[in-house]
């Protein structure tokens, strides 16, 4: 589904991402962990063709994402507030995304219904613009919009950050359901090892732009990751 080869990106002479080869299969849930500055967001931006790589390429469905815009028809993403239109209300924003992705009104309503618990009554019918929502609620709006286009590939950067505990749990349920029922290929980064091991079948550890570890999630994965990161601290 997604294939990365020889991908390098540097800012002001600092190499921030250096991946020789990485492929993510259809329906696979792919978790990305790593400390600040490890290159997680950079990798996602490259996958979404938001920045230009120094060398190498990202292929989606066998086509270089730089070449055509085809990948946009089946890719949903939410990285940060740059994906939100802050002067729209939540409903207007959802409708805009739906129209752009040719999702019908009834489908939108069905999805909104499915997410009503996740929204917790704080998103819809609020008579305010997205810029006036709290960070956590903005995140919920963005995540929903990314999922709403019913993508084959879903890219979420730190989806659990800023969410309240109940919403984190609900989001985990929703993501697992997406994986199982819709066979969505998910790329999720997180600082929270607990959440990411629970949702993702495969975890990749990034450090200073390089892949340090590539694990199929099992019962021991969480421990393995914890010992990896604590080794760094105590050594």
């Amino acid at each position: 589904m997604i294939k990365i080869e020889n991908l390098k990106k540097s800012y002001n002479g600092n190499l921030v991402l250096d991946i020789e080869c990485l492929s993510i299969n259809q329906g696979e849930s792919f978790g990305l962990v790593g400390n600040n500055g490890a290159g997680k967001t950079t990798l996602f931006r490259l996958v979404l063709d938001l920045i230009k790589a120094d060398t190498g390429w990202v292929e989606s469905h066998g086509v270089d994402v730089k070449r055509t815009s085809d990948w946009k028809t089946y890719t949903g993403s939410f990285l940060d507030e740059g994906f939100l239109v802050d002067f729209l209300s939540a409903e207007e924003y959802f409708n805009f995304i739906a129209k752009i992705n040719s999702v019908s009104k009834s489908e939108v309503d069905a999805l909104i219904n499915e997410f009503s618990d996740f929204f917790g009554g704080e998103i819809l019918n609020q008579k305010k613009y997205i810029r006036d929502f709290s960070k956590g609620n903005q995140k919920k709006i963005g995540i929903f919009a990314a999922i709403m286009s019913q993508p084959e590939v879903l890219v979420l950067d730190e989806p659990f950050a800023n969410l309240d505990p109940s919403s984190q749990i609900r989001l985990k349920q929703l993501l697992k359901k997406l994986r199982e029922e819709k066979n969505v290929c998910m790329l999720i980064s997180s600082h929270d090892l607990n959440h990411v091991t629970e949702v993702c079948e495969r975890i990749v550890v990034l450090e200073k732009g390089k892949i340090m570890n590539d694990i199929q999630t099992s019962e021991d994965t969480l421990k393995e990751l914890e010992s990896y990161f604590s080794a760094e601290v105590y050594s």
Partner: protein, 490 residues
């Protein structure tokens, strides 16, 4: 303590990412300021010598213009001067008295370079007049200028600060300027004689200087109260939370599919953000441009000038918004780049908006035909050129935008997100057709010149798909750089 605050302020400006990059612009601005100051000196000296010819009456004559002078200063200051602010949040938690912080912010404008302008103007005027004035009078004139300017300064700051929260103040201010001009133009009130008698009395009775001094203190106090009450708010402007949902009922553009959606998005952006909204309110003023020129018979003779006016009036929206395309959307540009639409259609939505606005302006100024069918002809040619060529010139150069644009500020003389290219671009847009026209105008063949401009514009309209494709290619080439610049939000 104050020393610490000052040094923090200095660091904030020295270390801002804009500082390093825009040193060139700063030098340019400094140079321009220097030239203007020199010119002001010369001009004032000239005014002084002219006034000196009036001999006995010269003082009265001079004073009769003082109100105009302060009126202009008020407008200049409220438009150009930046509001004195500081990032107050971190200081509020420290054991510093709030009143001290407020006073610190409020005394900052005293060190503004604009403050020397009144002195630069008045001193050279007084030099040729010195023969007719006592030294006491000279001192009093200077004192009245300085004190009144202080008042004007703080009044301008107050107006500027209040309008952040109450936008209507801005429009009232605009309206009162227009009203003042109207009163003056039609001599409803003899402003000059009022001005003369007010300032004469100050010079004869120096005690009266206390009046502007008290006004100044009053303005300072008003500012103080406003700032003291709102200091802890993170952003003064974020007072009203409720969204009005303007344009949410407008569904007409839905029939155009994705392109229509992007057009709607752009229109909502314009209406719902303060900076773009105030800019939009200015556009109808472009339509009045014609009134200044068409009423003068000798202007009607100069076809070249009429072309310029026509381009300006039909292209008002284009010029004010088109230069900053993409930058308007800098806060959600990543969404634009990842959303499920072709870049061609995205740019087409902008093209359509420009076409729509130009047609709208064109019909709005149709009544000017009253001044002659020549005006109709010239404006039609200007419209065609704007639609065929300038739309693409703007889209092409908008791809150079790299700066995040903060939309919550006011628009008048707001230079955040503006770079020098935006000023220089005005020239080709307005002058290129004139250059085409010039040889024919000089040769006495204005009609051929007009036909040529119209033909070039028409070609642009006929081949607009090709031109859109070319612009799209450029957009794809520069989008990474744009997105990178827009992500830096300071």
């Amino acid at each position: 303590m104050n020393f610490n605050l000052i040094s923090h302020q200095q660091k904030a400006s020295m270390r801002s990412p804009i500082f390093g990059k825009s040193l060139g612009i700063k030098l340019l601005m400094g140079f321009i300021f220097f030239i203007i100051a020199l010119e002001l000196l010369g001009f004032s000296f000239y005014v002084g010598t002219e006034l000196a010819k009036k001999e006995g009456n010269s003082l009265n004559e001079l004073l009769s213009y003082f109100i105009y002078f302060f009126g202009v200063m008020l407008i200049l200051r409220s438009l150009m001067q930046k509001l004195p602010t500081m990032a107050a949040m971190p200081y509020l938690l420290l054991p510093i008295k709030k009143s001290r912080l407020v006073n610190f912010v409020l005394t900052k404008p005293l060190y503004n370079i604009l403050n020397i302008i009144p002195v630069i103007i008045i001193v050279p005027i007084l030099i040729p007049l010195s023969a007719y004035l006592t030294s006491e009078q000279v001192l009093l004139i200077l004192a009245s200028i300085v004190i009144c300017d202080l008042f004007i300064n703080y009044l301008a700051i107050y107006i500027k600060r209040v309008q952040i929260k109450y936008e209507i103040v801005f429009y009232i201010f605009l309206l009162s300027i227009v009203l003042f001009g109207f009163i003056d133009h039609f001599n409803v009130i003899d402003i000059k004689s009022y001005s003369a008698s007010i300032f004469q009395s100050m010079i004869q009775q120096p005690v009266l200087l206390l009046v502007p001094a008290v006004l100044f203190l009053g303005a300072y106090f008003l500012n103080y109260r406003l700032l003291f009450g709102n200091f802890s708010l993170e952003e003064f402007s974020k007072g009203t939370g409720a969204a009005k949902g303007s344009l949410s009922k407008l569904t007409y553009f839905e029939r155009f599919g994705k392109i229509g959606e992007f057009m709607m998005l752009e229109m909502k952006m314009i209406i719902r953000n303060k900076r773009s909204r105030t800019q939009l309110m200015m556009i109808p003023l472009f339509a009045f441009y014609g009134l200044f020129f068409y009423t003068k018979p000798d202007m009607l003779e100069s076809t070249g000038f009429l072309i310029f006016v026509g381009l300006f009036m039909t292209g008002g929206f284009m010029i004010t918004f088109g230069l900053y395309f993409f930058a308007w959307e800098s806060s959600h540009f990543d969404l634009i780049l990842t959303s499920n639409t072709s870049y061609l259609n995205y740019l087409r939505s902008k093209y359509n908006l420009m076409v729509l606005s130009s047609l709208l302006m064109y019909f709005l100024i149709l009544p000017y035909t009253y001044f002659g069918t020549k005006i109709l002809l010239v404006n039609t040619v200007a419209l065609i050129f704007n639609l065929g060529i300038n739309t693409f010139v703007l889209l092409y150069f908008a791809c150079n935008n790299r700066k995040y644009m903060n939309l919550s500020g006011g628009s008048a003389f707001n230079f955040q997100g503006v770079s020098s290219q935006h000023f220089f671009l005005m020239f080709p847009i307005l002058l290129f057709p004139l250059i085409i026209y010039a040889p024919f105008g000089i040769a006495g063949l204005p009609v051929i010149g007009l036909v040529l401009i119209g033909t070039i514009g028409l070609l642009g309209i006929i081949f607009h798909e090709k031109l859109l494709l070319a612009v799209t290619k450029r957009f794809i080439g520069t989008k990474y750089k744009m997105a990178e610049g827009f992500r830096i939000k300071s």
